[in-house]
Amino acid sequence: MSKKEWPLWEVFIRGQHGLNHRHVGSLHAPDAEMAINHARDVYTRRKEGVSIWVVPSKEITASSPSEKGPLFDPAESKTYRHPTFFDIPEEVGKM
């Protein structure tokens, strides 16, 4: 008898106000509400976050590893594309 697994969810947590949500891992849950509860229990026991997003893993479209070359290689040795020549005013805060 095969055991029916709950669907997989990807978990994103905003560490503090002003920061982006970051992917922290995944978990199983029957629906979104329980995925949030599970995320709270699995990933935020140490005051890691102020906000949680959960996304069904199957809804994520990933780039194919075999397309790595065409996708990313053209950016190689084009350091001028990095905005390293600007000073960021302090008032802007975290970017």
Partner: protein
């Protein structure tokens, strides 16, 4: 400087703590609060590594840890009130079963997930209303402070337990049957939460704790709403109420918990790591 200020305000003045006339009742009452959390926490921790799925296993372990945290605060204060040099550890590890003051409900074996979640739900609903009263109204600042801290975690426990009671009650034929069986089994143990004695009367008189009977209405409303959503039949008023745990008359199950929990401190007194 900030640290000093925090330290200075972390223990509020509380004349009840050194009130000799209140001491026996206050100590008893604090042991009841601490022992409920300790024994339910221990029962819940028995799922650690045995949960049906990893996420529930972690959630149950978290709940157990929250409850053990509450135990430290309640029994810590109990030791202070008693004033005989016993701290939370000594009270937890070196008292015999007859000195434990927890409700019979929390010492029953963990059973299946239905019994575990239904027991937690019935207790959480009581715990939530009791702590809310204590945090808002207790004349003892120390009690109100502990209650306010515990309440944040217990609010989540109640949310989580309610959610699972609804999901399992209104789930499959099997989960519904198991939840109804669990409810029918535990119902006759839930009455003890609202049966006061002279200790409770002294606490109510002092303004430290509520009249337990006065919490019953809110508890019933919370429980009735969730059970209705869970399509579970609320049992009729229990004619017979299992009680006695608060006075130290326990079921045969408590001894086994203590044997496991206290073994190390009994065999190696003072051991720490």
């Amino acid at each position: 400087m900030a640290a000093l200020e925090t330290a200075a305000t972390s223990v509020p003045e509380d004349s009840f703590v050194s009130d000799a006339s209140l001491r026996p009742a206050f100590f008893e009452w604090l042991c009841r609060m601490g022992d409920n959390a300790l024994i339910l926490g221990h029962r819940t921790s028995e799922w650690c590594g045995h949960g049906p799925v990893l996420e529930e296993d972690i959630a149950l372990a978290n709940t157990a840890l929250d409850l053990i945290g509450h135990t430290q605060m309640w029994l810590g204060l109990a030791g202070e009130v008693e004033g005989e040099g016993r701290d939370a550890d000594k009270l937890a590890y070196l008292r015999d079963a007859m000195k434990f003051r927890n409700l019979l409900l929390v010492e029953l074996p963990k059973g299946d997930m239905a019994v575990t979640m239904m027991r937690e739900f019935l207790f959480d609903a009581f715990h939530y209303h009791l702590l809310t009263w204590l945090a808002d109204n207790s004349k003892s600042p120390r009690v109100a402070e502990i209650a306010a801290k515990a309440l944040k975690e217990v609010s989540y426990h109640l949310d989580r337990a309610s959610d699972l009671v609804v999901r399992l009650g209104d789930g499959t034929e099997e989960s519904h049957r198991r939840m109804q069986d669990a409810l029918d089994l535990l119902w006759a143990y839930s009455g003890e939460m609202f049966v006061g004695d002279e200790v409770d009367a002294a606490m109510t008189q002092a303004g430290i704790a509520p009249d337990l009977e006065s919490l019953r209405g809110e508890w019933e409303t919370t429980v009735r709403d969730v059970l209705k959503e869970a399509t579970l039949a609320m049992p009729a008023e229990a004619g017979f109420v299992h009680k006695g745990g608060k006075q130290g008359r326990h079921t045969e199950h408590l001894g086994f918990i203590l044997a496991e929990m206290q073994f190390l401190q009994r065999a190696y007194p003072g051991a720490s790591w």
